[in-house]
């Protein structure tokens, strides 16, 4: 096992109240996503025409929407899409970015120039604009959504992985391994990856926050997971039509998005402080 988590760092993390609170919040959201069917008082898809647009009450904590569906249950189920898309997209993006960044950094030459040039150019697209472009190319569906958000994150991963690999490629132990005749794959696996995985993991929590936000944005526009499956973004999209009469349809799912993004940002910020006490600037 890679030894990234020295006890000193764990202590620094534990002392960072923001980070711990963020971790608790994030864990809470993951649990909600897992046990949504147990917690939800109603089926998120069942319509109740006698109970349309009813305000928050003891029966319906967050009220009901224009089809009489229970908003509280829908918010709970919405956590599943956000968490699944967020975590999967980060995994996809990290794998693609790591492969490209590490191999560009290690092998160098024209391959490095080509890959990093494309990465630089992609970084000049605003995240959301890139998300829209990939969704346009890939088409609708949850798997495409995950891939699209993963591709949006990949350039950032590649840039970080590339920089870290370049810093290591001339290290004595890497040169020694090369001289001893180890094949590149072994060097990458044994000597390079273990040394950059910590940094990538820290950033991954921040990328998860970005992924959840991009997912919310896309499904608010109408490009994410399509109804009737509830997502926080498409609930707001549907709720906004009733903003003046029944603002809770938009307020509660939005609070959920804010909480989820905030939680992962808090963790990322906290670990970064713990790992590198020098202030980044």
């Amino acid at each position: 096992m890679i030894k990234v988590w020295h006890s000193r760092r764990i202590r620094a993390f534990a002392q960072n109240k923001t980070a711990v609170l963020g971790l608790v919040l994030a864990a809470f959201l993951v649990v909600i996503a897992l046990v949504a069917p147990v917690l939800a008082p109603y089926d998120p898809l069942v319509q109740d025409v006698h109970n349309m647009l009813s305000p928050p009450s003891k029966k319906h904590f967050f009220g009901t929407d224009d089809l009489g569906r229970d908003v509280f249950s829908r918010v709970l189920y919405g956590a599943r899409v956000s968490i699944v898309v967020g975590l999967s997209a980060v995994t996809v993006g990290t794998v693609i970015g790591l492969i490209l960044g590490v191999s560009a950094g290690y092998f160098g030459g024209w391959f490095e120039i080509g890959v990093m040039r494309v990465v630089d150019v992609l970084m000049s697209f605003p995240v959301l604009v890139m998300g829209l472009m990939f969704m346009a190319i890939l088409g609708p569906g949850m798997d495409k959504l995950i891939l699209a958000i993963g591709l949006v994150l990949a350039p950032q991963v590649a840039r970080l992985a590339h920089a870290s690999t370049v810093a290591l490629r001339d290290a004595d132990y890497v040169v020694a391994a090369k001289a001893a005749g180890a094949n590149p794959l072994r060097i990458l696996r044994r000597h390079i990856l273990p040394n950059i995985v910590g940094e990538i993991l820290v950033m991954a929590t921040l990328w998860t926050a970005t992924a959840i936000r991009v997912e919310a944005n896309l499904s608010f526009i109408g490009l994410g997971v399509s109804p009737p499956t509830p997502t926080w973004g498409n609930m707001i999209r549907e709720g906004v039509r009733w903003l003046v009469v029944t603002p809770w349809l938009s307020i509660f799912p939005g609070l959920a998005i804010l909480l989820a993004v905030l939680a992962f940002n808090m963790v990322g910020d906290g670990i970064r402080d713990a790992m590198d006490p020098r202030l980044y600037c």
């Binding site: 697209f125 969704m135 088409g139 980044y280 600037c281």
Partner: protein
């Protein structure tokens, strides 16, 4: 200086070309026929062929690439597949609204964010610092469209101070400003959060420098040390970071325009996306990326103003 500016502009040209090439390739080489996508799966083969001909998709890829590029260089961005209107006319009408909004957001963000960042840095690890940090972290976590909705609820629906939608005409500045207020506040709050975080962190770095200790040792008032000695030095990294954040802000302006129904570039792009108008989409994505390249260029050029030590030869 002039030579540096010229060289920096020359470097931006291949970047722009690369931006165009990537967007072109992504849209053409990706699986799926843009003409089928625009017409829907049930369109007849003849209709698809006719549209492919009109979109120029039947020519070899390289010919398409050059043809579109030459068009772009002449300012001809093609015509919308849906409305048949020239896209450059639509962009010219939308661009001022987007620039106005982004500029207002950057202005609010800088004017409030830098003082706020300095304040929290000076009060490090005390109550105002904690409050400021929590608010800033929330500000960078909240999606622009949700913040916009909350502001609409508070200031347009409840208090009725501002209109909900549209942008107003430029010929009526007062009405235009009333329409600008809430969208600008949306972007402004997000930008304040970014700027104050960065300012705080840059400031804490600078406050540990030797010249700050020297200034204090000389017996200068803390106010003079912070505002004259530290600020001037912290400003360089702040400007660098500011440039990258404007790119983020441009992304957020898309959602702000959607929520407030402002007739800007973002609204056009989302509309093109939903209508599967690939020609318009391609032009708009290239426009957005070019804006970011331009902002990066301006950021680079502004270093010299902030830091006179930087020489350009």
């Amino acid at each position: 200086m002039t030579r540096y500016v010229l060289r920096r502009i020359l470097v931006a040209i291949p970047t722009l070309l690369a931006v165009y090439t990537l967007v072109f390739l992504f849209i053409r080489v990706a699986p799926g026929d843009p003409a089928v996508a625009a017409l829907g799966d049930y369109a007849s083969a003849e209709a698809v062929q006719a549209l492919r001909e009109r979109m120029g998709l039947n020519a070899p890829l390289f010919v398409q690439y050059i043809r579109t590029l030459v068009g772009y260089l002449r300012g001809d961005l093609g015509s919308s597949l849906i409305t048949d209107l020239p896209i450059n006319v639509q962009i010219a009408a939308a661009l001022p609204h987007t620039l106005e909004l982004t500029f207002a957001g950057v202005l609010i963000g800088t004017l409030l964010g830098i003082p706020l960042g300095i304040f929290t840095a000076v009060k490090r690890n005390r109550f105002p610092d904690y409050v400021g940090r929590v608010l800033a972290l929330s500000g960078i976590s909240i999606p622009a469209f949700y913040l916009g909705i909350l502001l609409i609820l508070a200031f347009a629906v409840r208090l009725r101070w501002f209109p909900v939608m549209g942008a107003g005409e430029f010929s009526d500045p007062l009405k235009n400003l009333r329409h600008l207020a809430l969208p600008a506040l949306t972007l402004g709050i997000i930008m304040v959060s970014f700027v104050s975080r960065m300012t705080r962190s840059c400031f804490l770095n600078v406050l540990r420098e030797d010249y700050v200790r020297t200034a204090r040792a000389k017996g200068l008032a803390e106010r003079v040390v912070v505002l004259l000695h530290a600020l001037r030095n912290a400003l360089i990294p702040i400007v660098a970071v500011l440039g990258t954040q404007v790119a983020v802000l441009i992304g957020d302006s898309v959602m702000t325009e959607v929520v407030f129904s402002r007739p800007g570039l973002g609204k056009l792009m989302v509309q093109a996306m939903l209508q599967r108008d690939y020609i318009a989409l391609q032009s708009l994505i290239v426009t957005y990326a070019s804006l970011v390249v331009l902002i990066n260029l301006l950021t680079d050029l502004s270093y010299g103003i902030v830091d006179p030590r930087i020489r350009y030869d």
